[in-house]
Amino acid sequence: MIKITAPLEKNVIKKLKVGDEVLLSGVIFTARDAAHKRLSDLIKKGGRLPINLKEAVIYYCGPTPPPPGLPIGSCGPTTSSRMDRFTPELIKLGISAMIGKGDRSEEVRKAIKNNKCVYFLATGGIGALLATKVKSASVVLFKDLGTEAIHRLEVKDFPLIVGIDSQGRDIYAKAKWKSE
């Protein structure tokens, strides 16, 4: 098992190969549909973003609220492809990695390759288990969006699989059920 720490350095990302199973520690930021839409609108308006996304790891996740005594509730990944329309512009802003579930568009794959990023898969539907890997959580932006707000998470040994590596190799490329 490969252990890595966020923010991810370029030479660490470069070494990750599609299919590798990794344990990620460090700081990641949640964002799903509504937060992506807002970020995208802000980018279009040309203003400065209220958050620095340089080298950020973005996790497509809308957690359940934290039960007493825990930093976060259930927090598994949501379907990444819904974020595909926004991803290239976020990659341009300098995000280094994304975490979600499922396959991505060809456009996203190319943007990952051209900018030497990485896309990780987390297992969907195991949000309780993943919650045990989160050490702290706080809302940093778009609080009014509730679960869709941007949360800053500090994770320890968060289990992931490399879905698209920095060379653009896609774990789902050979899936025969897809091409048919």
């Binding site: 359940t64 934290p66 259930s74 396959d103 539907g125 309780a128 919650a131 774990i171 899936a175």
Partner: protein, 280 residues
């Protein structure tokens, strides 16, 4: 007439919302355990094992099995000799949902308007299906439904002379299109017959049937078995990463239909298929 207070229904709905979200159904868990034993791909086994571990943690820590705690679908079977007292049934159900989601730290995933899309922040309203039945009991089934899988559902109005193959191809295509989005291994509810609306409702109800059970009609049971084996041979596997386990269970519920038609609805659900029921 037996009097049942709607406050009793409210409390029951609240209890069932919590139970469904924290405790994976025994039949679903058993199907996942069986899949681990049957699976030959190492990665697929690891994913299935993590799903079992997740269920254990969710139950012991009272954490949601999945963060998509769904929109709540409530199925009511209301005995015709029951007289409801104490106010509005619909309000009582929604109060039960709201209370469970607020106090149980479950996610509010409902928007009040499909275009404005403002979160209602208490996961109401629920989708409520009521059936009037014989007797003086009220059976309440609560099923929180996640949308990764719900979004992949489909209905097709076949012509009456459609072959088994055509119907199978349609259902298999739904699973392929669902791909990774429905968190495979999936569970399918199939509704056949009735009308456009009835077929969809049957498909949803089919998800409440125990995984591993089969339609009492032999020709339907055969279709269920064939579909399960064909879908498992697609090789999608857990999270779409390959393996023998693409589907955990599939149930068909059927109803008579019109001479000119053959509606087939497929309600896609995931390995976190949740429901809980109680009769009062």
């Amino acid at each position: 007439m037996r009097k049942v207070s709607v406050s009793k229904i409210r409390d029951t709905v609240a209890d069932l919302c919590l139970k469904a979200n924290f405790e994976l159904r025994e039949d679903v868990l058993a199907a996942i355990r069986a899949a681990v034993d049957n699976e030959t791909e190492a990665r697929a086994r690891r994913i299935l094992e993590s799903i079992i571990e997740n269920a254990r943690l969710a139950k012991s820590k009272r954490l949601a099995i999945c963060q998509d705690t769904g929109i709540v679908v409530v199925h009511l079977q209301l005995g015709q000799n029951v007289s409801l007292t104490g106010g509005s049934l619909i309000s009582a159900i929604n109060e039960g949902v709201s209370r469970a989601y607020m106090t149980g730290c479950l996610r509010s995933s409902v928007v009040g308007d499909v275009r404005v899309r403002k979160n209602t922040m208490n996961n109401t309203p629920a989708v409520i299906h009521t059936e009037i039945v014989k007797g003086d009991k009220v059976k309440i089934t609560v099923s929180p439904k996640g949308f990764g899988s719900e979004n992949k559902s489909a209905i097709k109005m076949f012509i009456p002379t459609a072959s088994d193959e055509e119907i199978e191809d349609f259902i298999i295509e739904v699973v392929k299109k669902a791909g990774t989005g429905a968190c495979p291994p999936v569970i399918l509810g199939i509704g056949m017959g009735g009308t456009f609306d009835e077929a969809s409702l049957l498909a949803k109800k089919a998800l409440l049937e125990p995984v591993g059970s089969s339609n009492p009609k032999p020709h339907m049971a055969k279709l269920e078995r064939e579909l399960i084996s064909k879908i498992n041979s697609l090789g999608i596997g857990p999270m779409g990463l390959g393996g023998k386990t693409t589907i955990l269970g599939l149930r068909i519920l059927d109803y008579p239909t019109h001479i000119a038609g053959l509606p087939v609805a497929v309600n896609v659900s995931c390995h976190a298929t949740r429901s809980a029921e109680r009769t009062i």
